[in-house]
């Protein structure tokens, strides 16, 4: 059943790769313009160690940024939901986080935090925090009004209402925010590395991409891009699995998954 489901996309991938390989060879496209898949694979093997080390560093930065986003975003979302005045006062400024171009403020991060892991993580955080805030806030406000009445009727404490009603109600929307944030965290990490990743020690995938670009090693560049895509997908998959685990028994969106 599962294998049958995976067959069409895998087949399509093989066909696309084969056409790509054939065209590049037949038209004799230079390696630096568009390397064939076989050359990318070779570069991947050849520079496996470098790629693995940089992927590890990027993964760490993305994870730290994502966890900061999850923690801060959920806490802020819950806090803002507690009062309409608070929400009106602060929510517009969280939208600012979403709209500010990270490339524009990344240099500022270097000024503040110095080049290296810290600035990269903050970059990942800034890019990925808004969907978590928005998802949490929307979820906290989606509580069934009849259940709010019920809790009031039985004299529920604030803590009971939060833990037994509001947070469980918010989970589906919260996880939608986290899923979006997981992909954004990897993007924010790469952008952060482009600007601030040149510190001592080993470079992340963003730096590997820059270096490969400067050396016109397009095959390595492709391999590194592929690596970051795999990273983003894995983080997304992990968040998805966590959401499915928590909601599998009761939420309609996870009933047939």
């Amino acid at each position: 059943m599962r294998a049958a489901w995976a067959l069409p996309p895998l087949g399509a991938l093989c066909v696309i790769l084969a056409i790509w390989e054939a065209l590049v060879r037949m038209l004799a496209v230079p390696l630096y313009l568009l390397p064939p898949p076989s050359a990318i694979a070779l570069a991947g093997f050849h520079d496996a160690r470098t790629l693995a080390v940089s992927a590890g560093i990027t993964a760490m930065s993305a994870l730290i940024g994502f966890f900061l986003s999850a923690l801060f975003g959920v806490v802020l979302g819950i806090t803002l939901s507690a009062s309409l005045v608070l929400e009106r006062a602060f929510y517009p400024y969280t939208v600012f986080l979403q709209t500010v171009p990270i490339v524009a403020i990344a240099p500022l991060l270097v000024v503040w935090f110095g080049p290296g892991l810290k600035a990269v993580c903050v970059s990942a955080f800034i890019v990925s925090v808004f969907p978590v805030i928005a998802g949490t806030l929307a979820g906290m406000k989606s509580v069934d009004p009849a259940l709010v009445d019920l809790f009031r009727l039985y004299g529920a404490t604030r803590r009971h209402k939060l833990l037994l009603l509001q947070i469980p109600s918010a989970l589906p929307s919260l996880f939608t925010g986290l899923r979006v944030a997981s992909g954004l965290a990897v993007i924010g990490t790469l952008v952060g590395e482009f600007v601030a990743g040149f510190a001592e020690g080993s470079p992340g995938l963003g730096i590997t991409i820059l270096v490969a670009y400067k050396q016109l090693r397009t095959d390595l560049l492709f391999a590194a891009v592929l690596g970051s895509a795999v990273l983003g997908l894995s983080l997304f998959g992990a968040v998805n699995a966590a959401g499915h685990f928590l909601l599998r028994n009761w939420h309609p969106s996870e009933q047939n998954a």
């Binding site: 069934d144 009849a146 259940l147 009445d149 019920l150 809790f151 009031r152 009727l153 039985y154 004299g155 529920a156 404490t157 009971h160 037994l164 009603l165 469980p168 028994n249 009761w250 939420h251 309609p252 009933q255």
Partner: protein, 255 residues
């Protein structure tokens, strides 16, 4: 589950206008005797639900007062229970925890509240689905769980807002019978809001018919039917006469 005597309800000159200017209730007076089963009938949007929320203390009137006798929150935390139009269960809890919820909010420990929730579940004939999630139940079963959740606090005043309106006819008739049996067993005061005239006549000892908004009492009638009621009563002339009378009152009210 020990029998718990009902409480009386008094509504004095109650006025409720919503922020948009809609006048739901204008100067309403009502007296409900302790242990009565009263049906409140009226056209949709006439303010019956608002009245129920006012009596439950979920809403406050602009003028007038609502008093529920012996509503002593210290000695008897939740003497009032409320059943909504839909079941409104917590989808992430199983049936047992849903029924036990009011006790949990009241601070009862896990063992005691589970035991009482099991008892309430057996009252509505659902002991075998205690471990299931609401999503796995039919609409009628969910409504039964909702009823068990209302009974678990041993309420002295049970408020129901068109509780069986969304169910199929057969399930609704069955639940009507169960509700009446529960009332006869426990003796709590029951206020039942409905727009179905025959359901009101079948269930209640007293039916109050409201006019369209703002709610005004058009008819306050005692139902002259035996206490022991079953499906056969629907074909009796006495039942037909009651239904006819309520129907005429509704028409007169301008529905």
């Amino acid at each position: 589950m020990a029998a718990q005597a009902g409480v009386s309800v008094g509504v004095r000159g109650v006025l409720r206008t919503f922020p948009d200017g809609t006048q739901a209730i204008a100067s309403l007076d009502l007296d409900i005797a302790a242990g009565a089963f009263v049906a409140l009938v009226g056209p949709s949007g006439c303010g019956k639900s608002t009245l129920l929320r006012l009596i439950a203390g979920l809403d406050t009137p602009q003028a007038g007062s609502v008093s529920v006798q012996a509503r002593d929150r210290l000695s008897d935390r939740s003497p009032v229970a409320y059943v909504f139009q839909d079941a409104h269960l917590l989808p992430w809890h199983d049936v047992l925890d849903n029924v036990a919820l009011p006790l949990r909010l009241g601070g009862l420990d896990a063992g005691a509240r589970r035991a009482r929730a099991r008892e309430a579940l057996s009252r509505v004939g659902l002991s075998d689905v205690a471990g299931k999630r609401p999503a796995a139940l039919s609409g009628g079963m969910r409504m039964r769980v909702s009823l068990a959740r209302a009974l678990v606090t041993r309420p002295r005043l049970l408020l129901l807002d068109e509780p069986f309106g969304a169910l199929d006819e057969l399930t609704r008739l069955r639940l009507d019978d169960e509700l009446r049996a529960l009332w006869r067993a426990f003796g709590m005061t029951v206020l039942f809001v409905t727009h179905a005239i025959s359901e009101a006549a079948y269930l209640a000892e007293r039916v109050i018919v409201f006019s369209p908004r703002p709610a005004r009492v058009v008819l306050d009638a005692t139902v002259d039917l035996p206490a022991e009621r079953g499906p056969a009563i629907r074909t009796e002339p006495g039942f037909a006469r009651t239904v006819q009378r309520l129907h005429a009152a509704l028409e007169l009210g301008g529905a």
